[in-house]
């Protein structure tokens, strides 16, 4: 039953899956990778983005377009969240990281419980022409929903890479992650820069959340599944690298898909943590980290 053709097909699908993983990790790559903020609420906000997409798309709007429409709202939400985190934790001392971890875990639980109270524990799905059908090329079939994730991931990576390398604010965000004091000497306000970065990270979550509900049904506790995968991608990439996030997502997607096909589906959840352990042991700075 196992054949090279099947392995090739698994690898091809892994590329699509990997791009999806990259798309859902890009926000974390900005918040955790660039800013060093322990943003463990990232997957919960991702799921929140999915539910918000569900609400808007129930009005007859395309889910992907719903995700785009949600981006400004999530941008403001992210800015507010960082301000609160800064005022209550970061400003107060050196153990902000540990206490911040508790803070963001708390936010994640609040979001999860709020989603359960509002929507119940049932799964939610969206409908669109590209969900449930596939592109046939010869003997191969590629689900349109995964192709959509592939395209969005590429586009998001490109936009964020250009933004962080070519614009003043983008370079300031990278600078604040590298040397906050030096940035202050240049006359820039690190808190405002971080707030902007957090807004961007959370806005990306809105679009990624739309992808999440396009790719599969969502339920309130789904953030727990994506904690491991998104952190794996960001650490594998090397903190803060956008193109690295795409490559790391591809690696996770291909390895997970091949493992699922060869060893069995039960092994799939172990792949992300396995890769994480190997990377931390061999190259702690990640593939593209310095």
């Amino acid at each position: 039953m196992f054949s090279l053709e099947l392995l090739f097909e698994a690898a091809l699908f892994g590329v699509l899956l990997g791009c999806f993983y990259a798309a859902v990790s890009l926000g974390l790559s900005v918040a955790f990778g660039l800013l060093d903020v322990p943003y463990v609420a990232h997957p919960a906000l991702l799921v929140m983005g999915s539910y918000a997409t569900y609400l808007i798309s129930s009005l007859g709007i395309d889910p992907l377009l719903s995700g785009l429409l949600l981006m400004p709202i999530f941008f403001l939400l992210g800015m507010g969240l960082y301000r609160f985190y800064y005022e209550t934790f970061e400003k107060r001392g050196s153990d902000a990281g540990v206490r911040g971890l508790g803070f963001f875990f708390g936010i994640a639980f609040i979001i999860e419980v709020a989603l359960i109270l509002v929507f119940g524990v049932d799964q939610r799905t969206v409908r669109a022409g590209y969900i449930g059908s596939s592109l046939e090329i010869g003997d191969y079939r590629f689900p349109y929903r995964m192709l959509m994730a592939f395209a969005v991931a590429l586009l998001l990576t490109l936009v964020l890479t250009i933004y962080f390398s070519k614009t003043f604010n983008g370079r300031a965000i990278k600078a604040v992650g590298q040397d906050e004091s030096a940035l202050r000497l240049m006359g820039a306000n690190p808190v405002k820069i971080k707030q902007l970065a957090f807004g961007i990270a959370t806005a990306v979550n809105a679009l990624a959340g739309a992808l999440l509900i396009i790719v599969g049904p969502v339920e309130p506790a789904m953030d727990r599944i994506y904690i491991g995968r998104t952190f794996c991608v960001v650490v594998l990439a090397g903190l803060g690298s956008m193109s690295g996030t795409l490559v790391a997502g591809l690696i996770l997607g291909v390895v997970e898909s091949v493992v699922l096909m060869t060893l069995g589906a039960s092994w799939a959840p172990a792949v992300s943590f396995g890769l994480l352990l190997v990377m931390l042991g061999l190259r702690p700075q990640g593939l593209f980290g310095r």
Binding site: M1, E9, Q123, G132, S134, R141, E219, M261, G264, A265
Partner: protein, 232 residues
């Protein structure tokens, strides 16, 4: 393990047997592996959380024209929101159910008439074919047992229930020595001619056609799976 045991008994050749981790959201890779194994029958046992993802992947990846029957033990395909969400993707699937329109039991029509009004107000499953009638039947059995024994004593009630066949809205219910339903009435029904975005269609007979058991049979099995998906 259970599949291996039962396949020995039936003489079936199992070409692929795979489990999946909880909350798996994408089954494309598993369905690709199933397709590569070229099975003639595909039995899926899953929970509601995964039923939608399995059905989507089956539609996207395909199982191969050799597949005669698909479905079996998918929990979730009985729930209205999931049936509505999947729509035409359900066509051809043979799956278990506890009640489908057309099954006649005394009092069941009246129950659904009252249920549909209250379900709309409570914002729960608007059709409620799967579990609500059985919950009601449980109440009927307790009522009959209490009236007959004139007691709330658990031992007396249990003793009475073990030896009595109760008349309920899901048919007569009695128990065997293992505590299981003595005459099981779980059915296998085939989805046919389901359209997208239409909840009311599931109230009609002929949308889920009972194939088994014979006592509830409503129509003949349409196969292979590809043909059944297009059957009207």
């Amino acid at each position: 393990m259970a599949l291996a045991k039962s396949s020995k008994k039936t003489g079936w050749n199992v070409v692929y047997d795979q489990n999946y981790p909880p909350n798996n959201t994408d089954f494309s890779s598993i369905i690709r592996a199933v397709r590569a194994a070229r099975p003639e029958a595909v039995f899926v046992a899953c929970y509601p959380n995964e039923a939608v993802a399995v059905m989507r992947s089956v539609n996207e990846i395909g199982l191969g024209s050799q597949v005669q029957i698909f479905g079996g033990g998918m929990v979730g395909l009985q729930f209205t929101p999931i049936m509505q969400s999947l729509g035409s993707l359900l066509n051809g699937v043979v799956n278990f159910n506890s009640y489908v329109p057309g099954m006649k039991f005394p009092g069941i029509d009246d129950f659904f008439k009252r249920y549909s009004v209250r379900a709309a107000a409570a914002k729960v499953d608007p059709l409620g074919y799967y579990l609500p009638p059985f919950n009601y039947a449980t109440g009927q059995m307790i009522e009959q047992a209490v009236n007959a024994t004139k007691s709330f004593d658990h031992k007396k009630l249990a003793e009475y229930m073990r030896k009595t066949e109760f008349q309920t809205i899901v048919g007569p219910i009695g128990f065997d020595k293992f505590g299981e339903r003595a005459k099981p009435r779980m059915v296998q029904a085939q989805f046919r001619n389901i359209q997208d975005n239409n909840v009311d269609q599931f109230k009609n007979t002929g949308k889920q056609v009972v194939l088994w058991p014979d006592i509830d049979k409503q129509g003949d099995f349409i196969f292979p799976f590809d043909k059944a998906r297009k059957a009207t």
